[in-house]
Symmetry: C2
């Protein structure tokens, strides 16, 4: 690969003049500039980042650590692909800044993180973002003081700047919408409570009930570890079966996420229950490949992973430029409810009407 010296020789000028042309730095004669540019084109010259970086003491590189790339062939993931959307958002937020985003993948092994951090430090990244695959607490090795770090979709015990989904509010918003549609018996099939998302969403569910003056019925809340390959579907089936046999059965099943909702569709149909007229289903995530493809399309609440990424990227840029250095409060991100065909509007008349299932 040719260098600035090759270009200089070809154009009959000094390397420094070539540098000036490259960076529109000092003044350069019109004719000289043309000669130099021609030489650069002819040689296919591309400046070396390494050399620039060394001189400038700035890399223009942001490091991104994630499992987004590697973990997606696990049996079935609890989540959709949140981390991927987050990475996407980060890229979007950073592309205008001229930073190059370097992505390192944990390959599903947390113990590789320190090594990845070292690699990034050797590249002299100007900042780091750690993206977790689901909302959780993490504990990363300490970084040098002058390298800012932002946690996305996770948080730690040291008050490292973080951006996380507002699970509690999102779930409450969805349940509020169900209540507004006239539903009073709302079942909640929750994710495992040892997950931050599961815990917070259950709280949101209760918030919305309380707010509307509906009493909480423990028979309508169940934590279902649905994505265990063997026991999961059976567990879900039994839970739904139990709830539907209640004296006052639910009119809608709120699912921990869209993937669980997809499974619930299959189960309800096997049971011969028609959606949405006999029973409604709601999801969580707005995982569009599922929510829009299912029939009827799934009502769900959008957890805007993209926005988490964007906010994380913006936050990091502010840290790099020296702002907000001591702002320790986490950024909470919420999103809209998507109301589709999987839940009926009951309004005041709390009557189940049977219609032909498919109508245009």
């Amino acid at each position: 690969m040719s260098t600035i010296y090759d270009v200089a020789r070809k154009a009959g000028v000094s390397p420094k003049t070539v540098s000036r042309v490259l960076n529109s730095d000092g003044p350069v004669g019109e004719k000289t500039r043309a000669t130099v540019e021609a030489a650069m084109r002819e040689l296919g010259y591309v400046p070396s980042n390494a050399a620039r970086m060394m001189r400038a003491q700035k890399s223009g590189i942001i490091g991104l650590i994630t499992g987004a790339i590697s973990t997606k062939n696990q049996p079935t993931t609890q989540q959709g692909l949140p981390d991927l959307f987050i990475v996407q958002g980060i890229q979007r937020a950073l592309e205008s800044s001229g930073m190059t985003v370097m992505i390192a993948d944990t390959a599903g092994r947390k113990d590789r993180v320190p090594h990845l951090i070292d690699t990034f430090l050797s590249h002299r990244v100007e900042g780091l973002i750690y993206v977790a695959e689901y909302h959780q607490e993490v504990n990363l090795p300490r970084l040098p003081e002058d390298t800012p770090l932002v946690l996305a979709n996770c948080f730690d015990a040291y008050g490292t700047p973080s951006v996380v989904p507002d699970d509690r509010r999102l779930q409450a918003d969805l349940v509020r919408r169900l209540i507004a549609a006239g539903h009073r018996r709302i079942a909640y099939l929750s994710l495992r409570p040892d997950m931050a998302a599961g815990r917070l969403r259950s709280l949101g569910y209760r918030d919305a009930l309380a707010e509307a003056g509906l009493s909480f019925d423990a028979a309508l809340l169940e934590h279902v570890d649905f994505d265990q390959p063997e026991t999961g579907p059976q567990l879900l089936w039994d839970t739904i079966d139990r709830m539907l046999r209640l004296e006052q059965p639910p009119t809608v099943l709120c699912c921990g996420n869209d993937q669980m909702a997809m499974m619930v569709y299959g189960i309800l149909r096997s049971m011969g229950r028609k959606m949405p007229d006999e029973i409604g289903v709601a999801g969580f995530d707005n995982y569009r490949a599922i929510a829009e493809t299912l029939y009827p399309p799934l009502s769900t609440v959008e957890l805007p992973y993209n926005a988490i990424g964007v906010r994380a990227g913006e936050r990091l840029m502010r840290l790099i430029s020296g702002e907000d250095r001591d702002d320790r409060s986490p950024v909470l991100v919420a999103g809209p409810v998507h109301w589709r065909g999987s839940v009926n509007e009951l309004r005041q008349e709390n009557v189940v009407t049977f219609r032909t299932l498919r109508e245009e």
Copy 2:
């Protein structure tokens, strides 16, 4: 960030000695080594890649261009997330080589590719892989002679080394399996024929029929542009409706991919058709989040995107080390059929038996 000079000063030795400790280069006295290592630890020293790279004239970086990260929030993707799995495979193939993989995202805009290539060249990547989001022909700008390029999931007209799925053989394998299970009336709901995958898979379908001595029936083949948000589902419904009214209706519907199969599940159930006893469904891709979660689980053929990535990575490494420089033949990758509950084994008796739908 501290440098080799800081370490040298602290340890009371020359920079070169520190360098020797770092790289276990020349001989270093036991005591000196200990002193230097202590100094490095104390300063939190991490060597600068830029400086190394400049001296070594080798970056140890592989560039990856893809839309995997950014394009996944498009309405609903025709494909699953093949490119992501490919990226994953590439990472796996390259991690043992000690190369750092740098991922650049097109952000869905093909016109950004030249710019991304320049960025990579400025980082002096030792090789490039371009990953397409679906099997297609591409036309990339020319690279300098000394930077090898591998195309993954795509090919071009210049014989650039490429690794692509063997769609034709995969589809044939699946249909062969259906035939072995006793099916004779096999419908094929194909992807758009202007896509390489659609064309090749249709050919594979016909290959398998011909091989088994079954005549091709045009009434059982339809190209369905199923992922148009408005017309898609209707089109699919109409096509299935038409096929099921045939004098000799199909006993199994072969779908262009798993996502289409998911939609077909919903339609068949709305029509009141029971799977797999009244009608079987087969997919393509083995997109596990769908294939394993659907009920009944989907029989499909695995398009091992992961393997495409691995092969592409390996191919690039060989090119970098100077092997196979003039091997122009594309690498074809196939995968296994996954036989799950969505298609019945009819065997010799071509009888539809009705059983209770859910059995453990």
